[in-house]
Structure formats: structure tokens, C-alpha cells
């Protein structure tokens, strides 16, 4: 599998995990960040999982997607440049 596909799959997995945790209401359970005691251990774990998924979703996933876009753009541009150079050869 190419690096591009792997990056896109990783980004999709991160965003899917974030969406699932969000839908499950885990965003409401991140109070431990301020030292507020959670109602139980499960809430604390869900909250921390949401924090990890959120920062991965906001920081890592967009960078992965943007990297693929840049890589594709670079590849396309390089191919066109090669084709243009080839067309100008006598």
C-alpha cells in the first residue's frame, strides 16, 4: 500500500474515532483537564480518549491530508514539467 493511501486511511480512522466519541457524548466528560473529579472511572477514560482523538483530529489528521495533497500536487507538477521539457527537446 502506498504511503499516500496509508496517510489517508490514518486520517480517516482518526476522524472516525473522533466522530464516534463525539456522538457518544464524550466531549462532555473532559473536566479532568481542570482537575474536576469525574463521576466515575469510565467517564474519566472516555474524556481522556476524547481529548486524544480531538487533538489528533485537529492537529494530525489535517496535516496528513494536506501532506497527501501537497505530494499529489508536487507529483503532478513534476510530471507536467518533465513532459514540457521533453516536448521542447529537438
Amino acid at each position: 500500500m502506498s504511503a499516500r493511501k496509508l496517510a489517508l486511511i490514518a486520517a480517516a480512522m482518526i476522524l472516525l474515532a473522533l466522530a464516534l466519541l463525539h456522538a457518544a457524548g464524550a466531549r462532555e466528560l473532559v473536566g479532568t483537564l481542570s482537575g474536576t473529579l469525574p463521576a466515575n472511572d469510565l467517564d474519566a477514560c472516555a474524556g481522556l480518549a476524547y481529548v486524544a482523538a480531538w487533538f489528533a483530529g485537529v492537529l494530525v489528521a489535517p496535516i496528513l491530508v494536506l501532506s497527501v495533497i501537497l505530494d499529489v500536487a508536487y507529483g503532478t507538477l513534476a510530471a507536467r514539467l518533465r513532459a514540457w521539457r521533453a516536448s521542447r527537446r529537438p
Binding site: 462532555e28 473536566g31 481542570s34 480531538w54 497527501v68
Partner: protein, 387 residues
């Protein structure tokens, strides 16, 4: 070559994304304040008793001090909102009165220890009155703020009584500091009490009534509890003024804001020193450390957890927003606001911040709407309010 190309793309993508991230998390102060104010106001209405009780219980489970602090920040926010929006003044004042009356009833029922951590009962207060300046100062400030917005004849004596208690408590201290806990002086509580005295004096048309106390307090503080290297005031001392804990973010930011009522130049110097020692920022996002690099401490129930490496502390960062707004530090305020939107997890359209609690929401609301109350207290040095 392929690896280098991949690394180049990831590096460029990181620079582009991190550099532009601030754009996605830049709300205006009004956008921040409006939903928070809506919820805080609703929470303190009589028909929301169950929700309010649950919210305050959540605070008390972690730290009963937070319950009183949430009330104080909410009352201060409503005082500012009442001055900003005269059309809604009656609603905000009625809500302030509800907060004050509930707090007075709680103090009457549970005594000094009701809003204190359990260790307050481990030994007696050194001062013979056996009271906490934490309770006296915050109640006095709520009452003084209420009276400064609009004088209520029915509350004149009440405000006078609580401000007098706080004043006498400070005056009895060997270095003009009063205990929050037995033989524990917290700068936060002492500066809140000082601000209450000043606000009350302005409200009574005698802004310079305690000018000598304030001058003596500042001189004593500089001599006894200021760090010789940074000039920053210590967070916790004994009643005699021996430093127990050095400068802390969760204390300094609010102390600087409160000290504006006492000595604006000194307050500005404290803010500037705190900013130099505690501010962190990256890519347009800001945070506050709990401790300066020169006075590292451990996380405790006041500070909450600290994020390692960068030293970002949620509690200190929230309170830093109050100070940044009070000292018109727009750069730091914007950085902190972005961090709030990114990492404090707003829910229900920004009515609450899930990473915090009711205290955090009230403090952020106070930060977002602050200004008019302090301006009134500072601009009416002699006449306006009493008239």
C-alpha cells in the same frame, strides 16, 4: 528521494496547518460572553434550582472553595453586565442579590468552614476571631460590587458589616495579612478583600477612606512577601508573613487585578512581572504556567493538572485571561481566547466549557465582560457614585 519528498510534504503541511490554525479558533469577546452569560444567568434563576445544586455539588466534591469562587466571579460578571446593559440591569442585580443571599444563608448555616477544605478544622485559627478572609473578602466584594452598581438601601448595613469585618481582619494581622486557613495566608483572598474595601469606599462616596491602609499594605507586601529577584508576590504565607509558597499563576493573575483597586502602578508592575514569568505562547495560542521557572512547585488541588514540557495550566490560563483583559493586554487575551476555544472544549454553542466546571465558566464570563465595574471604581475617585 521518495522519503525526502514525503518528509518535505509533511513539513510544509505542518507549517501551513499550524500557522493557519489560529484562524479557526478566533472568536470575539462578545461571541465568547453571550452564550456564557445566558447560561450563568439561567442557572441562578429560581426555576433552575436542581441544575444549580448539581453544578455546585460537582464543584464542592473537588473543592468547596470553588463553590464560593464561582459565585464571586458570577456576581462580578453580572455587575459588569448590569453596567454594560442598563436595560437588563434589574435582572442582573436581582441575580446578584440571589447569589449573595444564598451565600449569606450558607455561611450562617455552615459557618466559616463551609466553603473551606476539610483541613481547615485540623487546628484553630491563630487570630482570635477564628474567621477566614476567604469568606469575608469574597462576600464583601460581592456586596460592594452590588452596591456600586446600584445602591440598595436594604443592603447598606450588610455591606458595611462585611467590609468592616474584612478590614478589621487585615488590620489585626501582624503584617496586614489575614488568614484564609489556620496560619495560612493566601494572597488571592487578601487582595480580594482589599478590592472589596476600595469598591465599598467608592460606593459610599469616600474613596480615600482607607488610602493609608492601602499604602501600608503595599509597602509591607513589598518588604515581606515579594520575591527579591522578580518582585512577584508570594501566593501563601503564615500569618506572620513567612513565605510558604512562592508566586503561583492561580493566585497572581487575580491578585494583580484586585490590586488595581489599591495601587494601580503596583498592580501593573505585578502583571508585567507575572506576564514575563508565566506566559507561554505558540502559533497564536497562549497559556499560563502555574509556576515561574525559578519557583517550580507541584500540582495541587488549587492548580489542577499541568501539561508537561510547556507547563500550561488550565486554571492559571483561565485566570490569566481575567488579568489580560483587566490590563488591556489584547495580544495575550487573544492568544488565551484561542486556546480556550481549542483546548477547553466549548459545548452547547459555548454555554459551557467541558474541560472546566461552573467556576471556570463564571471566571471566563467575568473576563469577557469585565471593565465597567473597575472603571467606575477608578474613574470616580471622589464624587460621581455617591451622588
Amino acid at each position: 528521494m521518495q522519503i525526502l519528498r514525503g518528509l518535505g510534504c509533511v513539513t510544509l503541511a505542518t507549517i501551513l496547518w499550524i500557522g493557519s490554525l489560529r484562524v479557526w479558533f478566533s472568536p470575539s469577546m462578545e461571541a465568547l460572553a453571550e452564550p456564557l452569560a445566558r447560561r450563568q444567568l439561567a442557572l441562578w434563576q429560581p426555576d433552575a434550582e436542581r441544575e444549580l445544586a448539581a453544578s455546585l455539588d460537582q464543584l464542592r466534591r473537588t473543592n468547596p472553595e470553588w463553590d464560593l469562587m464561582a459565585r464571586m466571579f458570577a456576581a462580578l460578571a453580572f455587575a459588569n453586565l448590569a453596567l454594560r446593559d442598563p436595560g437588563q440591569r434589574a435582572t442582573y442585580l436581582a441575580t446578584m442579590d440571589r447569589i449573595i443571599d444564598r451565600t449569606l444563608a450558607d455561611v450562617a448555616r455552615d459557618g466559616t468552614h463551609g466553603f473551606l477544605l476539610a483541613y481547615s478544622r485540623d487546628r484553630p485559627f491563630v487570630d482570635s476571631a477564628g474567621t477566614s478572609i476567604f469568606i469575608e473578602g469574597e462576600l464583601a466584594l460581592m456586596l460592594a460590587a452590588r452596591q456600586l452598581v446600584e445602591r440598595d438601601p436594604a443592603r447598606v448595613e450588610l455591606a458595611r458589616t462585611w467590609v468592616q469585618r474584612a478590614t478589621e481582619h487585615l488590620e489585626r494581622g501582624p503584617v496586614l495579612l489575614a488568614e484564609s486557613y489556620p496560619d495560612e495566608v493566601w494572597l488571592f483572598c487578601n487582595t480580594v478583600a482589599l478590592a472589596a474595601i476600595r469598591l465599598h469606599d467608592v460606593g459610599e462616596g469616600a474613596p480615600d477612606r482607607h488610602a493609608r491602609l492601602f499604602a501600608r499594605w503595599v509597602a509591607t507586601a513589598k518588604a515581606t512577601i515579594a520575591d527579591p529577584r522578580t518582585g512577584l508576590l508570594a501566593a501563601k504565607t503564615t500569618l506572620a508573613g513567612h513565605v510558604l509558597e512562592g508566586p503561583e499563576g492561580s493566585t497572581l493573575w487575580v491578585a494583580a487585578v484586585m490590586l488595581r483597586m489599591v495601587d494601580d502602578d503596583f498592580a501593573r508592575a505585578q502583571y508585567a512581572a507575572a506576564r514575563a514569568a508565566l506566559r507561554g505562547s505558540f502559533a497564536g495560542f497562549g497559556w499560563a504556567r502555574e509556576w515561574p521557572a525559578t519557583h517550580l512547585g507541584r500540582d495541587d488541588i488549587d492548580s489542577g493538572p499541568t501539561i508537561p514540557i510547556v507547563g500550561a495550566n488550565a486554571g492559571a490560563s483561565g485566570l490569566a485571561l481575567i488579568a489580560a483583559r483587566a490590563f488591556d493586554d489584547d495580544v495575550f487575551a487573544r492568544e488565551l481566547t484561542r486556546s480556550l476555544r481549542l483546548a477547553a472544549f466549548p459545548v452547547h454553542g459555548g454555554e459551557r466549557y467541558a474541560a472546566g466546571n461552573q467556576l471556570a465558566d463564571a471566571a471566563v464570563l467575568y473576563a469577557a465582560v469585565s471593565g465597567p465595574l473597575w472603571e467606575r471604581a477608578m474613574s470616580t475617585d471622589t464624587r460621581e457614585v455617591a451622588e
